[in-house]
Amino acid sequence: MSMLALAGCRKREILVYPEIPDIPKVLVLFPPDGLGDQSYSDQILSTLFRLTINSDNAFDLTYVCPSDDSPLDSIFVEALNQCRHNTEMLLILGGNDSYEELVKRHCKADDPVSQRVLFYDSANPLPVNTINFTSYGVSFLVGAVAFDKLQADTAAYLGACADCRSILYEFRDGFIDGYTSAAAEQGRTVVVKRLYIADDFAGFDMADSVYRMADDIFASSPFVYTVAGGSIMGLFRYLREPMHRGYFTAGMDVDQSHLAAGVLMSVRRRVDSCLADYVTQWISSGTLPKGARFDLESPYLDVSPSPRYADELKPMLDRWRNVAKQREQEYLFNKN
């Protein structure tokens, strides 16, 4: 009896292991060799990862960064299949023409899976959710401020290629219009040279060639606006050399002021913030944008001055920002 009483006083411990909740998954498919770009791919990964740590809306982040020679088709189909089998999964991809082709080939607008695919940085109609960033307004702003700062009769636009990507036209036109508008305001006529690195996509990855071209380019133009992916690194290398002080360029996509003293300002395209906002929205409401387009009015696009030039350039940027916004609307209206 005493034994029973003793036993009766005992507590029965039931071991409880923490439940592992099913949480949404976000799978990001980066452009081939995209990570390590010290630009927007790295920033997207960083921002989404921070979101997994800090967000109230928990989610698992996975990502794939194929190499240049990977079979993109099978990688994309596998990612799409994962998304099909897990209704709590969001697939994010973009920044690459090959992915656009794959989306067109494998996705249908009425397929429920397509509603959970978010494609960034495409102006083309695709059967999935897309977000796009205009480039005219920021480029106009760069051009106008570059003239105000340098007062040079000649500037140069350096594109990866002339016609390989239609998005480059916006950059080119915006910069030329900005530079010439600022000069016209002072009653001056200027020349903006149009230069191209290659005839095709190779121009996005030819940093060494750009380094070699830099002497000739800067001989007549103290400012070069470069829209050429990783090739811009060749220009930065040239500008870092002490004998090349006095030549300038603009960083692209992220703040690149730390890469050379000649980076006057940087075009900031906050694709990462935009994606983070949409991931949060998707987790909380299950919705995504259909064909969202962001221009200079949005919080995701701007031009920021490099710290060493901030005092001088900030007023210039503020003065031209509204003009750039207005001119961008006109440009897009005429384009459409």
Partner: protein
């Protein structure tokens, strides 16, 4: 006693169960940490902990890997990794190595960082088969322990970094390069390989001497003034890098300097201040496509440092090996479990993040071993040696605005190697010689004589005497008698106290015994260079009672093996035999018609120096293991005897003669050239000799 205790415990358990079944029970839900209940696998981490900033970084990596491994498992059944830290910067590293290698509660050791310390640990870990993961990049460490089954190098060796530095030089339009490296184990890899690689890449290499603590500044000045466009600096420490940059100031702007990974530390930038601006170099990094660097920065708000991603991967491999160990109930040793993980062959597996680790754990539990996508890159190890990862990513960095910026990511060209899957020391030459048809007529050969010289002494030079014995045995097998072979060797290895096979000498761990006491005519230390002249001239004496009595109708083979420097052969007493001394001797012998034809087969570093000096001497041919700027390479390390057993050129020579003694000199050259790793086998003086397409080695290795 143990069994009794268990029975009591079980009895008590049964009693309680009965009571609970019959009594009223108050239930209490107790939250349990499932991780705490998993089987512990302890890792010893041995790294230099004096630099607190870098140590914190490494601790981040190890802890993060452990956390992610915990997260990748569910429930209480699984493995729990723990890390125990040890400072590499202690006086008695050997004692620490012995202690850790013999601890049975440690599953694996990560570290040490420095090559010399890693060597010390490797010796001890070899004895106990303790798995050891290192980022030390000495080529000799990796090559010596290849296939030994306990050492795993998580980056390619500095052979690859040397290649990366040269490719940067090439990209920067350099035409002539030189090297500033220390006379130590770190500098040795660069000294051994960079001249060879420069020739392969098409750059001119201008040799300079290595530096020591007293000569760094002087050597740098010599490098800067030697006519090179670029000085490749391989500082053995960050302090050396700082001294180099300061010493290089007068030459900045006139010549380029590029640095190896030891300059890639925050310490260099902070101590040099503005002098560091513009410094460039290379360092191993993570593969950018793994995203490790980005996530590390996002997680810890600082950049990863040297070896961060590799240490993360080491923890992950140990964890997966532990899963495998549990699956097999400990029926295989832990190192075999590690080997199963790193020899993955079931496709590409998961990555280094928790989901990826979970996928890899699931695969291992199902008996599948995929290649893991690690934080540092694909963890694909060499399929024959397993010891080293096949591909490492290097960053090309520059100091700008007081911080390191990455200009590019680079990896070596695996096509240079024997096979794409092989480790980096398997790099064979591709830029060979061509030979003109030379028409010579000779009288019929009467006899063949041979002089075999093992010029070094001591256990550490085991390979020289072993190869000399291999050549001797090959000649005997071909029918040459002892009277026609003069052999000079110190004879101090067969019975050396280090030799675990007393009285035996081999050129490979499982090879035949080559030792023959009767073969040796002279101890090397009893002779000097002048004695060799006497032996070749048949000037016999009471002291030199076995000489070469060759006539104008006899062929003479000389096989010389030992050390060489940029100044000539090194003799047993460390004296130098200058190339001109050898050339003068041979010129006189040729003039005096002391041979019909003479062939020198030379295995020393910089052996091409002698060949170059002997150009123009009639009826003489030189085959050298390396050209005048290169080192030759040891091969076949015996982890039991702790000695290199052979040399690449000599091993190839004996192998080719054993399989086909009728081989023409032309074919022999191409065989040796394409099978000697890490140096350019070179032929000298063929125009004064004979038609290499027709004449055969046979006339020098048969009676």
């Amino acid at each position: 006693m143990k069994l009794k205790f268990k029975q009591i415990k079980n009895g008590f358990h049964l009693f309680i169960t009965v009571c609970i079944a019959t009594a009223c029970v108050k239930e209490e839900f107790k939250p349990v940490d499932p991780v705490a209940e998993r089987s512990e696998y302890r890792i010893a981490v041995v790294l230099p902990l004096s630099d607190t900033a870098t140590t914190q970084n490494w601790q981040h990596c190890i802890d993060w890997a452990i956390q992610n491994f915990d997260k990748a498992q569910q429930g209480p059944v699984g493995v729990r990794l723990t890390a125990e830290w040890f400072d590499e910067d202690i006086a008695d590293i050997a004692a620490l190595a012995r202690r850790l290698a013999s601890r049975t509660d440690i599953s694996a050791i990560i570290g040490p960082l420095y090559s010399a310390n890693a060597f010390t640990f490797a010796v001890e870990c070899a004895k106990t088969n303790m798995p050891m993961f290192t980022t030390a990049t000495s080529e000799q460490l990796a090559r010596a322990n290849a296939r030994s089954g306990f050492l795993w190098c998580l980056s390619e060796t500095d052979i690859t970094q040397s290649e990366v530095l040269l490719s940067i030089a090439s990209k920067r339009d350099a035409i002539a390069v030189t090297l500033l490296a220390k006379d130590d184990v770190y500098g040795a890899t660069f000294t051994d390989w960079l001249p060879f690689q420069a020739q392969e890449i098409g750059l001119t290499y201008l040799p300079n001497e290595t530096y020591d603590d007293n000569t760094l500044e002087a050597r740098l000045a010599e490098c800067a003034s030697c006519g090179a466009d670029m000085v490749i600096c391989a500082p053995s420490s960050s302090d050396d890098a700082i001294r180099m940059v300061r010493a290089a100031q007068p030459y900045m702007g006139k010549i380029d300097f590029i640095f190896s990974d030891n300059a890639f530390t925050p310490n260099v930038v902070s101590k040099l201040g503005r002098l560091a601006e513009g410094m460039e170099g290379s360092s191993m990094s993570s593969d950018p496509s793994s995203g490790f660097d980005v996530l590390y920065h996002a997680m810890f708000d600082t950049s990863p440092t040297l070896g961060s991603s590799q240490y993360y991967d080491a923890v992950m491999i140990v964890g997966l090996a532990a899963i495998n160990d549990k699956q097999t109930d400990g029926q295989r040793s832990f190192r075999e479990s590690v080997k199963a993980i790193v020899s993955g062959h079931d496709g590409i597996g998961g990555d280094w993040m928790p989901d990826g680790i979970a996928a890899n754990i699931a695969a291992v539990k199902n008996g599948r071993f995929p290649v893991i996508r690690g934080a540092s890159g694909l963890l694909q190890f060499d399929k024959s040696a397993y010891t080293s990862v096949v591909t490492t990513t290097f960053c090309y960095w520059q100091v700008y605005d007081s911080r390191f910026i990455t200009l590019d990511y680079l990896s070596a060209q695996p096509s240079h190697r024997v096979g794409d899957m092989l480790t980096d020391w398997n790099w064979r030459a591709t830029h060979g010689q061509t030979f003109e048809d030379v028409q010579r007529s000779y009288p019929p050969r009467r006899k063949t004589w041979a002089l075999i010289v093992a010029a070094s002494t001591g256990w550490e030079n085991y390979r020289h005497q072993a190869d000399a014995f291999a050549v001797y045995q090959m000649l005997r097998r071909n029918g040459m008698d002892d009277d026609h072979i003069v052999m000079i060797a110190e004879d101090d290895i067969a019975t050396h106290s280090n030799n675990i096979a007393q009285g035996e000498v081999r050129t490979s761990p499982d090879g035949a015994n080559l030792y023959s006491y009767n073969a040796i005519d002279y101890k090397t230390s009893d002779l000097c260079f002048a004695d060799l002249d006497s032996i070749l001239r048949n000037h016999s004496s009471a002291r030199l009672n076995h000489t070469i009595a060759a006539t104008a109708d006899d062929n003479v083979l000389v096989f010389w093996i030992g050390h060489g420097t940029g100044k000539g052969f090194v003799w047993a007493d460390n004296s130098i035999i200058a190339p001109w001394q050898v050339a003068d001797m041979l010129r006189e012998l040729s003039y005096d018609k002391r041979f019909r034809k003479m062939l020198w087969l030379v295995e020393t570093c910089y052996s091409g120096l002698i060949g170059e000096a002997c150009r123009g001497i009639d009826r003489l041919l030189f085959f050298t293991a390396a050209n005048a700027k290169e080192t030759s390479k040891a091969t076949n390390y015996d982890t039991n005897n702790h000695a290199w057993l052979s040399n690449a050129f000599s091993l190839g020579l004996v192998n080719s003669l054993t399989t086909n003694s009728n081989i023409s000199f032309h074919d022999l050259y191409y065989y040796l050239y394409s099978n000697t790793i890490g140096s350019h086998v070179t032929v000298y003086n063929e125009k004064k000799f004979d038609n290499l397409n027709i004449s055969q080695l046979r006339e020098f290795v048969t009676p």
